[in-house]
Amino acid sequence: MRWSDRYRFVPIVGGLVLLQFSLRARLGDDRVAPDFLLLALLIYTIRAQPGRSAGAGFLVGLLRDALTPASFGAGALAHTLVGYLSAWGKAVFFAENVIVNGCLFFAGTWFRNLIVALASGRLKGGQLGWELLVWSPLQSLTTAVAGVIVLLLFGRYLAIRLSDV
């Protein structure tokens, strides 16, 4: 693999980060709008090794925790787990398919929210149920849709094989 191929995901991830801090607030309810930052992490994990993905997840989570100090550390833990499991699962089980990747984005987002909700200990009872059964699935869905769009637009550029679409 060429050096340029290794870092070709950087512009895409950078663009998603910018979208997170610019466009996302304009996409309606904060609980439903797609999480571009997590999407950037998941796209990175598609091709990265589990260890690197976990490290990237930890950094992303730590930065997000800085923005939500009430659950400091929970985000880091959740993103670390999601990054690691995503990269590991991609390498072991998942095929290179848009639908599969969409499901990965959906599951990753919902799992991240589950870990944060449980690890932070802030959500309990009905609030936790609403979060996990209503808002998280909705956000996971929008994130998955956004991820599929990104892959359809830039899949070849990212050297992700999508021949099984």
Binding site: A25, A76, T80
Partner: protein, 265 residues
């Protein structure tokens, strides 16, 4: 994973400075971007509201001078009515949204109010026109802008007599009057007020027609022609008085009535 757990177990005195440091360094540009995006979105969303408010204010502001002018005009009419005493019918001008509206006007007084054909129609500023057709409740007024309008006129001091007619229907001076038939040996100073002369018996004497602003470019034969700026523009009139005669105290000369009006109350 361990680091994450360690981060979760950090005491507040370490956690808060760490989060603060991240926000002020790594996350600072992103937070700035988010803030600017929010400001931009707020600006865009409030822009329509601001524009709507501005338009409403501008619309209201456009009516203020009009209302003031109308108020002044109505006060003038009241003053004129008081000076006239009797022998007039007040009427409202029913403007139409047509380009020819200034040539003929419909007023809200007719036969039942005592209006008769060829009655002079005036405003506090001066002559508006003449009644041409009278219906039961309304009348048609031919204004001075109508091509067929003519009025016997004189200078305010009575030194010069002539005929006033519309200047024309084309060009930038379309809304001016002409004072025709002035003997070549006589001249009229600029700014001279032109009044109806009362000759011919159609218009009472002394109704202001306008003031001389220039001499006409083409002087024909042995007479001079002057351009007269009308005292009142038909489009700007909302209320008028239709003179019905029978007025006492002025012996058919209205100069004193309008002069007092020009001097103010």
């Amino acid at each position: 994973m361990l680091l994450s757990i360690a981060a979760m177990s950090l005491p507040d005195r370490w956690r808060d400075p760490l989060a603060k440091g991240l926000r002020q360094t790594v996350l600072a540009p992103f937070l700035w971007l988010q803030q600017q995006t929010g400001l931009l979105a707020a600006s865009l969303s409030s822009y329509d509201g601001v524009v709507a408010q501005r338009d409403s204010a501008a619309l209201a502001a456009t009516f203020v001078p009009e209302l003031r002018a109308e108020n002044t005009r109505l006060r003038g009419l009241l003053g004129l009515g008081a000076r006239l005493g009797s022998g007039y019918v007040p009427a409202e001008v029913l403007h139409e949204a047509l380009p020819t509206n200034p040539l003929t006007l419909i007023v809200s007084a007719g036969r039942r109010q005592g209006v008769k054909p060829l009655a002079a129609v005036v405003s506090p500023e001066g002559l508006v026109g003449i009644v041409s057709t009278v219906d039961a409740q309304t009348s048609v007024v031919v204004t001075w802008a109508h091509p067929e309008f003519r009025a016997s006129a004189m200078a305010a001091d009575g030194s010069v007599y002539g005929i006033v007619a519309p200047h024309g229907t084309e060009g930038p001076k379309v809304w001016l009057l002409e004072l025709r038939g002035i003997p070549y040996r006589q001249s009229v100073a600029l700014g001279t007020s032109i009044l109806t002369s009362g000759l011919g018996g159609v218009f009472p004497r002394g109704i202001p027609l306008g003031s001389v602003v220039d001499s006409a470019a083409a002087e024909e034969g042995w007479e001079r022609t002057y351009l007269v700026r009308p005292a009142v523009h038909p489009s700007a009139v909302s209320h008028v008085m239709i003179l019905t005669g029978g007025r006492s105290g002025t012996a058919g000369d209205l100069r004193a009535v309008f002069e007092r009006g020009e001097q103010g109350p």
